[in-house]
């Protein structure tokens, strides 16, 4: 999963927490629990909270491992959490994914409060999609709850979840990309400024975002915490707060407009026969290769991803269109699919490495390579719309996965004609021969099949 680590195997994403950290040994991922976290860990395991959260799939399961610790002085226990097949980040999620991650966080907090614990973090990065569901992966996120104490993660929850969700639902869905710039969530003063004025009429948004931002500015730098213990949040008030955040988020919705749901493939130039032929070839080739991890680049709403995931492979289904990713995610949720992960990705500008020393959040490429990459009906966008020369495309795909299923879309194809209608044809090498000779530099071409009732060719290649 991750290639970056420090000397003792510690993963660079978990350096902040004094409670413990992740490290890898061999190909196995472990989490060291430090002595500093002994009481909390014991309470999590003994209060019944762990069991309850596992039962409803809200927390990643782990086993206690008999392993020497990575840093022995601080070590209390070593645990081995279930491995997450693919780590994704909130700026790669659709609206529905971020919303579910938010609701899962609140649901965990409610259950924790009932058993005398509270989340000390409400980071969107602590949520991952496991078996199709948003799941908390940081076992060390809990602290013992003391009645009267406020929720320490309140501000973080507003920045990581509420602000981006409100901006996506009520301003523009593309504003989730602010999370790429602001690694600790959208600053509330910025959210307050960007949100439409009418959001001040929504009690939840008025208080948790607009007034919250105002209070941050007004009381910035003032010491308020130690005033004679009068400043308390009762348990009832805490419950009211969590319930209100929950209902505020539940009422935020985003339904894709413009690109009509379910109509993606009716606007292409595929006949049914061509569509079926493509599916058939993909099914045969997947059965032959049996990839554990496949990446579908330009997956649209995931029709072809599902041909692969139905054979048992885990498929990350990337697309640039937030509407397509949302539809893909809603389908996977409805069908309770466990091995498909829809994500937002602009292939012409893939997710970079981010955070402290650029090592906290991995780039798109660092999370690979995949066993199999699908590039269906995508090459003309990269070669013609984005002017990437064919040899560079071959190089990119060879680094991204071992096997490649790629569709060549010739200039005579009506979709390519559309792309060329508004630009000068400066692509003399964009021919089937030019494509094959560029890709032969990096791949062995095992199959090249002309798709029925179309001018397109589907290739199966293996990188060498």
């Amino acid at each position: 999963m991750t290639s970056q680590k420090t000397n003792n195997g510690q993963l660079p994403a978990s350096f902040r927490d004094p409670s413990g950290f992740l490290f890898s040994r061999g190909r196995v991922l472990y989490r060291q629990v430090n002595h500093a976290y002994e009481l909390e860990y014991a309470r999590l395991m003994e209060s019944g909270l762990y069991e309850r959260l596992i039962k409803v799939g809200l927390l990643i399961p782990h086993v206690e491992a008999d392993q020497p610790p990575a840093e022995s002085e601080a070590a209390y226990k070593i645990i081995q959490p279930e491995r997450v097949p693919f780590i994704s980040y909130p700026y790669e999620w659709s609206f529905g994914q971020l919303k579910d991650a938010a609701l899962v966080t609140l649901s965990i907090q409610k259950r924790a409060l009932k058993l005398g614990m509270s989340l000390k973090d409400a980071s969107a990065y602590n949520i991952q999609f496991v078996r199709g569901k948003a799941t908390l992966i940081d076992t060390l996120s809990f602290e013992n709850y003391k009645e009267g104490e406020p929720w320490v993660a309140y501000r973080q929850f507003c920045q990581h979840f509420l602000a981006p969700l409100a901006l996506m639902a009520l301003k523009d869905v593309r504003l989730n990309q602010l999370l790429r710039v602001y690694i600790d969530g959208v600053p509330l003063d910025l959210a307050s400024e960007l949100l439409p004025t009418k959001t001040r009429l929504n009690f939840g948004l008025l208080t948790h975002i607009h007034l919250h931002a105002g209070a941050q500015k007004k009381y910035a730098g003032e010491e308020v915490k130690s005033r004679n213990g009068a400043l308390r949040v009762s348990k009832q008030a805490m419950t009211g707060l969590i319930d209100n955040l929950e209902s505020t988020i539940q009422r935020l919705n985003w339904t894709p407009r413009g690109t009509e749901w379910g109509n993606y493939y009716s606007i292409t130039n595929y006949s049914d026969a061509a569509f079926e032929h493509k599916k058939q070839l993909l099914k045969e080739w997947t059965a032959r290769i049996q990839p554990a991890m496949a990446w579908d680049l330009g997956a649209n709403n995931g029709v072809f991803s599902r041909v692969v995931s139905e054979t048992g492979s885990y498929v990350v289904s990337f697309d640039i269109d937030p509407a397509a990713v949302e539809q893909n995610y809603q389908t996977s949720k409805k069908e309770k699919e466990q091995n498909i992960l829809p994500l937002l990705l602009d292939l012409t500008n893939p997710t970079p490495a981010l955070g402290w020393a650029n090592r906290e959040r991995e780039s798109f490429g660092a999370r690979g390579p995949a066993d199999m990459v699908l590039a269906l009906a995508v090459i003309h966008h990269l070669a013609i719309s984005n002017n990437v020369p064919l040899p560079q495309l071959a190089d990119f795909f060879a680094k991204t996965g071992k096997w490649l299923v790629i569709e060549f879309v010739p200039k005579s194809d009506s979709q390519v004609k559309k792309l060329l209608a508004s630009r000068e044809d400066i692509f003399p090498n964009y021919t089937r021969t030019g494509f094959e000779s560029a890709f032969k530099e990096k791949f062995i071409i095992h199959e090249a099949v002309e798709i029925r009732e179309s001018e397109r060719v589907l290739y199966l290649m293996e990188s060498h």
């Binding site: 649901s107 208080t207 910035a220 707060l241």
Partner: protein, 59 residues
Amino acid sequence: MHFAPLPYLDPGSGSFLIQLAIAALLGLGIAFRASWGKIKGWFGIKPKPEEDDDESENK
């Protein structure tokens, strides 16, 4: 208007105070609903059974 973060001004205090205010208000709401439920109870109106959220799966 400041466009650069002010390095020594922590937004934590404001977050703390606003949480206190909102939570107090919402806590009152819960208390009110609970008493209202009791009043309704005197007139024989039964409250809706509280959903056991342990039964609801993470969907």
